[in-house]
Symmetry: C2
Amino acid sequence: MKHTISILVENEFGALARIAGLFSGRGYNIESLTVAPTLDPAISRMTINTIGDDRTIEQIIKQLNRLISVVKVKDVTAEDPITKNLALIKVNLNRRNRDKLKSIIADFDAMITISDDTCSVIQAVADDGGIIRLTEALKPYGVMEFVSTGSVAIQKGKRVIRA
Amino acid sequence: MKHTISILVENEFGALARIAGLFSGRGYNIESLTVAPTLDPAISRMTINTIGDDRTIEQIIKQLNRLISVVKVKDVTAEDPITKNLALIKVNLNRRNRDKLKSIIADFDAMITISDDTCSVIQAVADDGGIIRLTEALKPYGVMEFVSTGSVAIQKGKRVIRA
């Protein structure tokens, strides 16, 4: 099962390596991970997307909680959080495909962030499925490069994850 | 100096922990990091933002290149890439601040992704500076929670980072 885990962590050397090591030490791949500062620059927030059985994830969370640099851990999967992934997709742009590309971009509520004579960078925010569908729609027109952040998650309503 | 490093890496256990360890082993903090699959599911793309002197970054890049799981490394800082950071910001919403919040959201080209009677989640894509300015503008109205991906980077024009 896919799990989305939110972690607040002290912004210090080695915390990321230790956290990543907890997953790989159990043979678990991290599908995507983001870590960036919160409004308190001493605390960073990490979102990890991973696939694994509930029992092992539970054990990993227990171990995460034991790390001194970890302030808070929450598996938000069951809470149906808002999840958003940002993708930058470089595509060939030419006279023949310009109109078709523009219609795909409009369909997916994406936008062109920069463009020159030969290529455009499309910026899109969606859940993972939306990013995959957009990319599949663009593929026939030549995807030159694809970068994405992986999903970040935030709970709905008043629930928050804070230090 | 701030550096933005793009890395293509084989999607395997332990690669992230080893890469993060290279930075922390030299006493270097990673300010933000994203890693997510590329169109080739065997290869993930990582964007690391870090602050450090050019010489040490150069040494870290040499060491990264020696890791078997690392396919490609590029310090894209000097190329003035497009950098975009996605933030989800939960704010208090009430009758008094509703109009003011909507005007800030419009000014920063952000949007409300979900809303109920008491709070809204604002979604914004900008460079790091833009996200900071938006957050500062929202703070007087009550920021309940802040999650961001950290910046991803893509070079302008035809240049690409591919396996």
